[in-house]
Structures are given as C-alpha cells and as structure tokens.
C-alpha cells in the first residue's frame, strides 16, 4: 500500500478531516492551469536528444510543460536546455541489477506513478515506446554475486 492511495485499484480514499486539505498526487496540483505532455526518449542516441528537445519544445512548449522521460545518463543535455526530465534505468542497467529489484513490477508501478504525477494530456514516444520498454523489463533473478 502506498501512502496516499493514488492507484485506482487501491479503493476509495478514506475520508479526510474537514480541516485537512485532501492531498492530490499531481506535481502541479496547485497550478491546475498547467498541462503537461510526456515525451519518452528510450534507447535514443545521446546526440539525437538535443534535436528532439528542440523540435518538441518548438511544437508543444508554448502550450504545455514538456517532461522528457529518458534512459540516458547524459542529464546535462536536458539541463543545458532547461528541459524537465524523469529518468528510467535503461534495459542494460536493468539487466546488470536484475538481482537487486524486480524491475518489471517496479517499472510498471513507476510508470503509473509518473502518469499520476504529471497527468499528461499526450504521451509521445521517440525510440522504443513505453509499453515495449515495460514489457521487456526483467523479473528479479536469484543473486549470484557471492
């Protein structure tokens, strides 16, 4: 169970006391005019990222907050362009650390959480799409490192 019961299948939220404002899991909950789109950049060559950021910013940046979802570690490309981004470990990272976490379960939850957090009006994919990425996430393997 999570803390705020953000997943629909968790059932109805308990009633909150009158004096406690209900907390909503959305990053712009207090800025309702703000809308977001998610642009996934999975398995994209680092050099292409700059161009995609420029293109998508021109196309959508005036109306929406653009959130890039990347598996690249080259965070400065985003920072240098003042781009908001979230990170998901790449397929290679998942494979390297398959004994430490159940990636398929975690990433499925993580994606749903990101959808709740950003409440995007669109999801645009560059490279591998998010469904394929999530479907390929490995289950937890037995530890063999000792």
């Amino acid at each position: 169970m999570g803390i705020f019961g953000w997943l629909p299948h968790r059932g109805p939220k308990p009633a909150t006391p009158d004096d406690a404002p209900e907390q909503t899991l959305a990053i712009y909950a207090s800025q309702p005019a703000q809308t977001a789109i998610i642009v996934t950049l999975i398995g994209i060559e680092a050099e292409q990222i700059d161009e995609i950021i420029d293109v998508t910013a021109r196309r959508f940046g005036k109306k929406h907050k653009i959130v890039y979802l990347t598996d690249s570690l080259d965070f400065m490309r985003f920072r240098d362009r003042n781009a908001i981004f979230e990170y998901l470990p790449s397929a290679l990272e998942q494979k390297l650390h398959a004994a430490e976490i159940c990636w398929n379960a975690y990433l499925a939850r993580r994606w749903r959480l990101l959808l709740s957090k950003w409440q995007p009006v669109h999801v645009i994919s560059y490279g591998r799409n998010i469904d394929a990425f999530l479907a390929a996430a490995p289950p937890m393997t037995v530890r063999t490192d000792r």
């Binding site: 999570g2 803390i3 705020f4 953000w6 907390q23 909503t24 899991l25 959305a26 990053i27 712009y28 909950a29 207090s30 800025q31 907050k65 570690l73 080259d74 965070f75 400065m76 920072r79 240098d80 908001i84 981004f85 979230e86 990170y87 470990p89 990272e93 390297l96 650390h97 004994a99 430490e100 976490i101 159940c102 379960a105 975690y106 939850r109 993580r110 959480l113 957090k117 530890r143 490192d145 000792r146």
Partner: protein
C-alpha cells in the same frame, strides 16, 4: 540452506559497558573451547543514541571467532543465549527462523532499581523470547542481587537456572598490578561508563572521594562534564579521564585503592568494573550491599568510613598485600573465563550430531541486502561523492543502490551501482507541497521494491516527502549523514533528526569554527573522522598523473576548481586569478570542470597554457598539481588539506551553502591554505597568486597539512551501516503499529 551453531548469542551489541565486555569474554571463551558460535545483533529499547557496535564484539567478528547472523537465516543452535532481558521486552519486529535445543535469557539487571521502579516486565520478556525462538525459557540471573529481585512465581514457560550466570574475566587480559606499598598521597580511583547514576549523591561524594589533595588523589575513568553538572565544582585533586574501552588495565595499575559508591537510585546487578579492579589485585572499598557478591574479596563501609579504611591499610602494609592477593584469588576461583566451557556444558544438551568445529566447514553466506543511499542535489556532487565513499567500503554482502536529486548521478552508475533520479522541485517549477506529495510516493515505491536494510540519507535539507515515505517503513534502519558548519537558516532541519535512527556527522577540520545549529547536538550524533571519497594514498603517482593529463614535468601546475557557478557567480574572480597564474611563463592552469557545469557557464580558454578538463574524481590526479585554487565545500576542502595540496580557497558564500568561509579561515589561520573572498579580495588577486606560487610558502603549507593525524571516516560509516544492516529491532512495539 540451514546453518548449525553450538551457541547463538543474541544481544544489543551497542552497550558501552560491562554487558558487552562480559559478552565478548563469553564468545571468545566459547570459541577457544571449540564451539561454533554466532552473534545476532538486536536494537533494543534502552539505547536511543547512535552507538556503534562495541569494539570488542566487532573484533570477534573480524577475527572470525563468531559468525555474524542475519535474521533471515535459517539456523539451529544447541543453545540460544539472550543477553539482557530488555532486548526482548518488545517482540522482534520480524519473524525468525531460528530453533534451539535450549533457550536462556541472561538477566543482567535486577527487576527493580534502587527506587523500586520496575526495570523490565518479566512476563513480556519470557513470552516474547518463547514466541520468537519457539521453546521454553531458562532464566539465568547474573548475581544473587538479580535473583532476589525476581518473583517467586515465574511466568508460564519460564524456568530458573540454579546457578548464577556471573560475569567472567579473561585473566590474561587483567594482569595483577605491580606490588606497591601505599603511602600518602594515595591514589583512589574508579571507572564506569559516563552516567551520573554511577556516582554517589552530592552529600556523600566528598566523603567517598575526599578533596584533601595532600592525602588523596582521585582518578576517575569515564568521568567528564556530567560530574560538574551533578556536583558543581570538581575538586582540584580529582583527575577526570574520558571514557575509553581500551587501556583499563593500565589505568587500574596506577591506583592504590578502588572505591566505588553509586547513587541510591541505581541498582547495580553485578558490577563488572569492580570485578576488573579485583582481578588486578586492587584493594576495593564498596558499600555493604556488595558483600553478597564479592564476600571477603573487598572491604565494605559507608562513604564516611572510606578515609578510616584507607588509613588502616596505609598503616599496615602487610594487610594491604594480603587483601590484594585475596581479591585476585577470588576472581581466579569464581570468575575466571576458564570455567565458561564447563558452565555451557552443564546446560547444553548433548548434540544429536556434532556441529562443525570453529574454522571447520563453510558457514552459509549472509543473505544479500540492499542499502539505499538517498541524497539531495546540492549544486555540486558533494553528497553523492560522500555516499560513494561509503558505498565503496561496504562488504560484498551489501548492495548499494542510489536515489539522488543530483545531475551527476552518472558517477554512481559508472561505478557499477543501480541508481534512480528524483528531480528537485526547483527544476520542475513545482510547488514544494505538491512536489513533496509526489516525492513521498516515489520514494515509497522505490523502498517497497528494494526492501533496503538501511536507508542512508545525505543532505542538509530533510524533505517532508522523504520523512513521509520513511514513516511507512518503521523497520528499516535510517541514517542521516549531515556535515557540520550549518548556517543558522538551516536550523529548521534539526527538527527532523528524530525521524532517523542515527545521525552521523563526518569530522570537520575547521570544527572549532563551527558554532552553528548542529554544534550543540554533537552528543546525540555518531561522530566519525573526516570523510574522503579516496584516501590520499589511493591517488595516482605524480608521474602517472602528469602523463595521464599530458602535463609536462618542469611546469608548475595550478588546478582551478571553483564549482559549477550555479548559485554563486565567480566569473570575474576566476578570470582575474587565471590571468595572474598565466602571467608567469612556467605555469599551466588546469581548470577542472564539474560534471554538472552548464554549457552556458562558458569556461572559455584564456591561452595555450590554460586547459579545461572534466575529471571525476579529480582528487585521484591531484599528485600532478603543485598548487590549487578551489572553493571550500566539504569534500574539496578536506581533500586539499588532507592531500597536502597548497590551496587558495575561494569560498562559495551563497546563502544556501554551508559556511565555507569558516573552513577557509581555519586553513589560513593554521597555515594549511589561504583564503580569498569574492566580494572582498578581487583587487588582490596578484598578491594571492604570488603567495600561492612561492615554493617556500607552499612547502610550509604542505608540512602543516601532513602533520594532521587522520583516518577516513567513510570506513567508520561503512562499518556502522554493515553492523545495522542485519539488526533485529525490538526498540519499538510492533503490536502498536496498527494498520500501517
């Protein structure tokens, strides 16, 4: 795979005093007797402060004399020994898969203190021990004092051992003190852990420990400022020695008489320190109630009798010698560790089949556990670098995983660690409250899937999102590593200290300049030496480093590292300093770019001898440098000074930063570097660089820096993490957890 032990010791390994010392003797003696033993560490309810594992117990694990046990291991022990009843007064918060032929709880403490207050609930102790290990409970009081405090009618499933489980001493560790005839001024002494209750009342103290310096010197180990609080003025003939685990025998060897009186509110179950004094052959003077424990090995009286009793021995050296011998003999006959093997044999059932002897046969590996390192962004890589320092020193059975707000997260991934990014609200342009709500849920999901044994947080700011997520996992051991030299504006974060099980403070060279919010909290933190990512000895040799960086010999190389500039613009100062360095024909200015320097920062080259490189960790190459110009963040500052690199420190004085100017001031005033401030000293760049490049000045700084005695605190933190990663918690009552 199931493991088998002869004896499993279950104990709160953090006790400072006699409980741990006695346990260490038992484990060592059992190992000598060829028994295979294990140690299951408990975090009991008595100790709230972040004590580390007792060094005697740590040594036993390090030497392979006992096995560290993980609570998830399946094992059978012929005997399970729970040391101290309070550690099982609450139920363990996780199920154990440990079975035993016999389960024994050693009662180190009377059920009631000197004021009649109950110290533990025996019914709960027995019930919880029975439930956790699945067998009847045998109670083993350490002394007649404890035995007498117990109820006649025992709880269900409890049985009383007929013999007391008295403390033991390895006499090899406690040599008899040299024979010496006492003469005025005699030396009266005592030792105990630093606790005011271990000392008599203010009315009695000067009777037991006289202030007459002509006749008495009073020497107390384990005494410090708390005595001044208890008594007011400390007499000038008293010598207070801070508590230490080492060198107690040597301390006792300096005394003529051992005098031990305590507060009436305290009830001493046994008095291991008294036993240690007797073992060295000291003449020991005690209150009469101890006669039940030590018989003729000591002499007894009230505080008012102390001077008279001492005088009697001073006047009769033969009686002094005889009493001294009697003391030592008493310990040899009743408390020598050599009797332990027989004691165990009396209560352990004969094994169905032999357990592999010590050193024989492989013991199963400890289950792998994750350790989650979480850090805020800062404007650099400092928090992450500190955590990498700790992670790299963890043993193979613990897997570091990182969750950070730092743009330099790649550094963790490149070192082979799993890492997750948690963007800070500032870069999302989000309301902090909305962000904290999301952060709590994101961290919750990560923790729920990783199931880390330890959560280690490194930051000055504690976010509500973090504490809310942690609140959902009361069983995870939570550590907050916070560096000193806070600004007053950071004080608000101190309120979050109690959300963590331990606060660790890495040592600060400029500690005497720290009067900030954390300075008053040091007693509540685990203090470790200064933390460096790399030890100075791990650096590349000068020739190799120069070759790797393509720096020719014969040139004076000045490394310049003024940070990312994200929150404190140093461009003017940088340009002035670089110009001064490059004005000389034999210099190279090697500007080290932070991995998170934005492109917009525009580190334009100012000439052929100005080179810009990205290095992480740059300290690895620092033997190539002759001098440096750097900011004074914790990591860089300590690397420069402990690495003996002559450095001109330019503090980042942004409001959100720690007090870097204080560090740099310390360096300048102790001859270990120089200070230059952006807003005060811009006009003096030439003079600063001239001094920095003066070989004599640099040599002086190097010499001063090398005089600092230091060990890497990263190792201490790693060991602390290791010791708490497999701990069973009984410090909170899981029955009250409700639906969380």
């Amino acid at each position: 795979m199931s493991a088998a032990l002869d004896v499993l010791f279950v104990a709160d390994v953090r006790f400072e005093g006699g409980t741990s010392t006695a346990l260490a003797v038992e484990i060592r003696t059992a190992a000598r007797a060829g028994l295979r033993t294990g140690l299951l560490a408990i975090k009991g309810p008595l100790l709230g402060l972040p004590f580390p594992m007792h060094p005697d117990l740590r040594r036993l694990i390090d030497e392979g004399l006992t096995e560290r046990i993980d609570p998830d291991m399946r094992l059978h022990a012929r005997l399970v020994l729970i040391h101290h009843p309070t550690i099982i007064e609450n139920r363990p918060t996780r199920p154990l898969s440990i079975t035993s032929d016999k389960l024994l709880v050693v009662l180190h403490h009377p059920m009631y203190d000197g004021c009649g207050r109950r110290q533990y609930d025996l019914d709960r102790v027995v019930a919880h021990a029975c439930d956790a290990f699945g067998s009847d409970v045998f109670l083993a009081p350490v002394s007649a004092v404890v035995r007498d405090s117990l109820p006649q009618r025992l709880p269900p499933y409890a049985h009383m051992l007929e013999e007391d489980w008295g403390n033991l001493i390895d006499l090899d560790d406690w040599a008899a003190k040299p024979a010496r005839q006492p003469a005025y001024p005699v030396v009266i002494g005592r030792h105990s852990r630093p606790d005011p209750l271990k000392w008599p009342t203010a009315e009695e103290v000067l009777l037991a420990y006289p202030a007459d310096g002509a006749r008495f010197r009073v020497r107390a180990l384990g005494a410090d400022a708390f005595l001044a609080e208890k008594y007011g003025t400390i007499p000038p003939n008293w010598e207070l020695v801070p508590f230490t685990w080492d060198d107690v025998p040597a301390f006792l060897g300096t005394l003529d008489f051992y005098v031990y009186f305590h507060d009436p509110a305290w009830s001493e179950a046994f008095g291991r320190t008294i036993l240690e004094a007797l073992a060295t052959g000291l003449v020991v003077i005690l209150p009469p109630h101890f006669a039940l424990l030590f018989g003729k090995a000591a002499v007894y009286g009230e505080p008012a009798d102390v001077e008279r009793l001492i005088d009697g021995f001073v006047r009769d050296p033969e009686r002094y010698r005889s009493q001294s011998e009697q003391a030592r003999r008493f310990v040899e006959n009743n408390h020598d560790a050599a009797i332990y093997a027989d004691r165990l044999a009396r209560i352990m059932a004969a094994p169905d089949k032999a357990v592999a002897p010590q050193g024989g046969g492989l013991f199963p590996a400890l289950p792998q556990r994750n350790v989650l390192f979480a850090s805020s962004n800062g404007i650099g890589v400092g928090h992450l670098a500190q955590q990498l320092a700790v992670a790299q020193r963890l043993p193979p059975g613990l897997t570091p995983v990182f969750a950070t707000m730092s743009y330099s997260m790649k550094a963790a991934v490149q070192q082979g660690y799993q890492a997750h990014f948690l963007p800070h609200h500032r870069i999302l342009d989000a309301d902090p409250e909305d962000w904290n709500t999301c952060l709590a849920e994101e961290l919750f999901e990560l923790i729920a899937h990783l199931r880390p044994a330890v959560f280690a947080y490194d930051a000055t700011a504690v976010f509500e999102g973090v504490t809310r997520a942690l609140g959902a996992f009361p069983d995870i051991f939570k550590i907050w590593v916070r560096r000193p030299l806070w600004r007053e504006s950071h004080r608000v974060f101190l309120d979050f200290s109690d959300r963590f099980d331990a606060v660790i403070e890495p040592g600060e060279l400029a500690e005497t300049f720290d009067h900030g919010p954390t300075a008053a909290c040091r007693k509540e933190t685990f203090l470790v030496p200064s933390v460096l990512h790399l030890d100075p000895a791990e650096r590349m040799a000068r020739q190799s480093a120069r070759a790797a960086l393509d720096l020719p010999e014969g040139m004076t190389v000045v490394a310049v590292q003024l940070g990312s500039g994200a929150n404190f613009d140093m461009r003017d100062l940088r340009n002035a300093l670089l110009a001064e360095v490059l004005r000389r024909p034999d210099t190279i200015a090697l500007e080290i770019r932070s991995p998170i320097t934005p492109e917009a920062a525009g580190l334009e080259r100012l000439g052929e001898r100005h080179r810009v490189v990205e290095l992480f960790p740059s300290f690895r190459f620092s033997n190539a440098f002759d001098a440096a110009i750097t900011a004074a963040g914790y990591n860089t500052f300590h690397e420069q000074v402990l690495g003996a690199i002559p450095t001109l420190f330019v503090p980042n004085e942004a409001d959100e930063m720690d007090l870097q100017a204080s560090r740099a001031r310390w360096a300048e005033l102790t001859g270990r570097g120089w200070l230059m401030r952006r807003d005060y000293d811009l006009g003096f760049a030439a003079a600063h660089v001239e001094r920095l490049l003066d070989p004599v000045e640099r040599e002086n700084v190097v010499r001063r820096c090398r005089s600092i005695a230091w060990t890497n605190g990263a190792r201490d933190i790693a060991r602390y993490v290791e010791d708490h990663a497999r701990i069973v918690r009984t410090d909170w009552d899981i029955t009250k957890l409700g639906s969380l």
